[in-house]
Symmetry: C2
Subunit: 183 residues, 2 copies
């Protein structure tokens, strides 16, 4: 399947939103998206995300400084805008085709009205104010029926589930480091 | 049922973490927790969260400046620490009793080793680096079997799902404001 899932992050302000946008990007990667596109150029953000991909694996990519209007208009597939005002996730989800390319839009504070019209769907992950990171996480987890969360990434670093400590396998060093340090 | 669910946020630094901790708190509220306790005192954070509760309803509370070691030790019930190193969510979840009080611990960057031992469970929401907001959201969504996300809060402001605009009912004003402004 050559289907592609891209998360488009709108309204990113490098100073103010760096940490939350990093959470958006890493959540997108961990839950099965192929890429994050960010509307504002931010090289530091790119480096942070690329460093995780390099160490932990997968083919996830990041682009910043993306013209969002052009990107939405050029998209071939569904465009789902996550907003607390949209139709409810439980009703919308069964009608979103999983065979098509999917663009998921998440905004920072204010999203231009135009986005509501350009999107093929406006979907609310709960109608309460909370977090675009949480909304994206729940959307992707449910979209994939919970199947992407625990898949492997084939990276240099691999964490092995451990109820009481930290087990990190570093294939670059050919040895297992077990609970190497605190915290 | 008098069972209580509290999210304990560790390592909050008011300058650096205010936005992410706000996301943690509002995600906790939206997904069915009763309270968030934050290890560092932060009045501005309290005000932000209390303002959402006042407008959107529910009984969610926030406390900051909480002595986390004491709070964990005094807790009667399960203590689930969410960490990328823990046992996998899909295996752990069926064994976490839903009839007991539940404390969910989410850290900022580094979590003291002691927390891994004080917790009754260390659980990984995926073994990839992503976001404590995403981890909390997915944990609570799955814990409740998806049932809390779209429940009502009985607040003054209520958002009615709308596929193309914004419908906000303001009971304080006794009238419906429909798509009152852009963005």
């Amino acid at each position: 399947m050559t289907r592609m899932i891209v998360v488009l992050r709108l309204g990113h302000r490098p100073n103010r939103d760096q940490r939350v946008t990093t959470h958006v990007a890493l959540t997108a990667r961990a839950l099965g998206a192929d890429a994050v596109w960010v509307s504002t150029e931010d090289r530091a953000l790119e480096k942070t995300v690329e460093s995780v991909v390099r160490r932990f694996g997968g083919r996830f990519t990041i682009r910043t400084g993306v013209d969002w209007r052009k990107a939405i208009r050029a998209w071939k597939g569904e465009v789902v805008h996550l907003t607390m005002y949209g139709e409810s996730l439980s009703k919308a989800l069964p009608t979103i085709k999983t065979t098509k390319n999917l663009m998921i839009i998440v905004g920072a504070e204010k999203v231009p009205r135009e986005v509501y019209d350009l999107a093929t769907r406006n979907v609310s992950v709960g109608s309460q104010p909370h977090s675009e990171v949480a909304a994206l996480a729940i959307f992707l987890d449910r979209y994939y029926g919970g199947k992407t969360l625990e898949r492997g990434f084939g990276g240099r670093l691999r964490i092995v589930p451990n109820p009481r400590g930290k087990t990190v396998i570093d294939r670059g060093k050919g040895k297992e480091r077990k609970a190497p340090k605190q915290g």
